[in-house]
């Protein structure tokens, strides 16, 4: 009717944004720092600060302009950078660079800056060994810096020395911020098959295969999907899948529009749209609620993995045609502390870490934002990472672990992280010892099906 659009369609868009929490979860600018590498810590840090602040100085303003014109909230503005394990290798000034990144992020007004990262899936250089040891201090003495390690890949297998170290780093990061429920560990994620164009934190970094300045956009919209499903309470699962696909298409088209416009206005390359359905702690913005709408008494019930597989697949099928380039993590997120339905199920005991592990085999990304007792041994955390890495490596997908051991708290207590990081009930974790497995070290070889050439 109006420019070939019907009133119903226009009002549908208004309702998706106004009532059902459709938003752009993040506009993330990836910035290459390879031209900042020097053998002086002070000079490298200064160049890093200058590169980030000059490249992304208009990021927040441009996101505000786009948000106003299209009438869609853009929740986070972020920057990802070249892995600092590489950028600081020559100078060794990792912590100086971390502080420069934090200062740059504060000065340009962004929410987070990611890339305090090392890619050690097959082995670590001497510089990367030193880098990894700085992660707990870097995270506990900065506000906006996020860190990640890639410890495994389908082509390289699992670096069990790095897995072992990651467990210790998580414990140390949590300990250093024990007065804030271990928040430093909430800014650190351990990956298998990490991707180079992820716009989401804490795992975003700017891969070395990327252009100088790239815009990657992460969409959201669990509330929109749930609302669409409420309209077909008696539909069979074919109809459920179709409805999710149609909704994901619409959501992703908005992401594509915003990504292209942001790249144009910021004189950057358009990278990807990440199709992840990212929840927030707000009521009505929950992936768990979608699974329950599909037909579970509670997330965690038998059938949860099947419902999640279907949701994840339908989101991708709907989204893939809606964007020129899809990338990043692209799948449903199931962070416990950031999803009201997950929090509810974890607190009631309906959802366990073991069930969550099964769910990570069929969705993006992993055991995410899970609080565990503060006295959980490092080797137990490492072994959980190894399990997740095994799922990722064997299935050729990204998996990740973001566990927060909360010092002074145990099962039944609640950890408060604030803001989008949310609230997490401390979950029970299996206490049987994996110490010998983790102490062996070495590498788990790449699986047979990795040998594709």
């Amino acid at each position: 009717m109006m420019n070939n659009l019907g009133r119903r369609e226009i009002l549908e868009t208004i309702g998706m944004i106004g009532e059902h929490h459709l938003d752009i979860r993040t506009v993330t600018m990836g910035i290459s720092l390879t031209d900042c590498i020097t053998d002086s810590a002070a000079i490298t840090a200064e160049k890093v600060y200058d590169k980030v602040t000059s490249s992304a100085k208009n990021l927040v303003a441009v996101a505000g302009e786009i948000s106003a014109i299209y009438g869609i909230p853009i929740v986070n503005k972020r920057v990802s950078v070249t892995p600092i394990g590489i950028v600081g290798a020559s100078s060794g000034g990792f912590l100086e660079i971390a502080r420069a990144l934090d200062r740059a992020a504060a000065d340009i007004g962004i929410d987070f800056i990611g890339g305090y990262t090392a890619l050690v899936q097959k082995g670590a250089t001497a510089a990367e060994e030193r880098f990894m040891d700085t992660i707990p201090e870097a995270l506990s003495t900065t506000a906006k810096v996020c860190s990640s390690l890639n410890v495994a890949s389908t082509r390289a297998g699992i670096n069990m020395d790095a897995v072992s170290r990651a467990g210790r780093l998580i414990k140390e990061a949590a300990y250093l911020t024990r007065d804030r429920d271990g928040i430093a560990a909430a800014k650190f994620v351990v990956f298998a098959n990490a991707v180079e164009d992820n716009p989401f934190m804490a795992g975003a970094f700017h891969g070395t295969g990327e252009a100088d300045k790239v815009i990657n956009v992460g969409v959201s919209g669990p509330g929109v999907v749930k609302t669409a499903l409420e309209a077909i309470p008696d539909g069979d699962l074919s109809e459920v899948g179709e409805t999710i696909k149609r909704t994901a298409f619409k959501i992703t088209r908005v992401g594509q529009l915003v990504a292209k416009e942001a790249a144009r206005r910021l004189n950057a390359s358009f990278g990807i749209v990440d199709l992840s359905l990212a929840p927030t702690p707000a009521v009505g913005d929950s992936v768990a609620d979608i699974l329950e709408e599909i037909g579970l008494g509670s997330v965690g019930a038998p059938g949860t993995t099947a419902a999640l597989m279907m949701l994840n697949d339908a989101v991708k099928k709907g989204g893939i045609m809606a964007s020129q380039h899809v990338g990043g993590l692209s799948g449903a997120f199931i962070p416990v502390s950031e999803d009201a339905g997950m929090i509810r199920a974890a607190a009631s005991g309906a959802l366990t870490i073991e069930k969550l592990e099964a769910m990570t085999a069929v969705c993006s990304v992993g055991l995410d934002m899970i609080a565990v007792p503060g006295d959980t041994p490092a080797e137990t955390i490492s072994a959980v990472i190894a399990d997740e890495a095994a799922i990722g490596v064997a299935n050729g997908k990204t998996t990740a672990v973001r566990l927060i051991p909360v010092y002074g708290k145990t099962v039944g207590d609640v950890a408060e992280f604030g803001g989008l990081l949310g609230t997490a009930p401390v979950m029970r974790i299996n206490t049987l010892s994996p110490l010998k497995l983790i102490s062996r070290g070495g590498r788990v070889a790449a699986p047979i099906h990795a040998n594709k050439n």
């Binding site: 659009l5 106004g18 299209y70 009438g71």
Partner: protein
């Protein structure tokens, strides 16, 4: 620039007059109007052309928001591209 203006709220006398008056005073051309009562709520969609507007998008949006507050309805203005992106292949 083509945009869509939407008004949603409790029906009362003078909503169209107030909104169209504000648009006319700002040099905004109304290309199409559709209005109805849905579930007891007044809903109106206008297709508008901002090409001749004497204010920028932000100022127009702010003026309309204020007008909506005075009328007790919710008024929003959005670039047409977000609707086209979502609903047209």
């Amino acid at each position: 620039m083509k945009a869509f203006l939407t008004v949603i709220g409790k029906d009362k006398v003078g909503i169209i007059a107030a909104v169209s008056g504000l648009l006319a005073a700002s040099g905004v051309n109304i290309e199409d109007i559709s209005q109805t009562i849905m579930q007891g709520m007044f809903t109106m969609v206008m297709a508008v052309d901002l090409g001749g507007a004497d204010k920028d998008f932000a100022a127009l949006g702010a003026g309309l928001k204020k007008c909506g507050e005075d009328l007790g309805v919710e008024i929003s203005l959005r670039h047409a591209d977000i609707f086209n992106a979502m609903h047209k292949i």
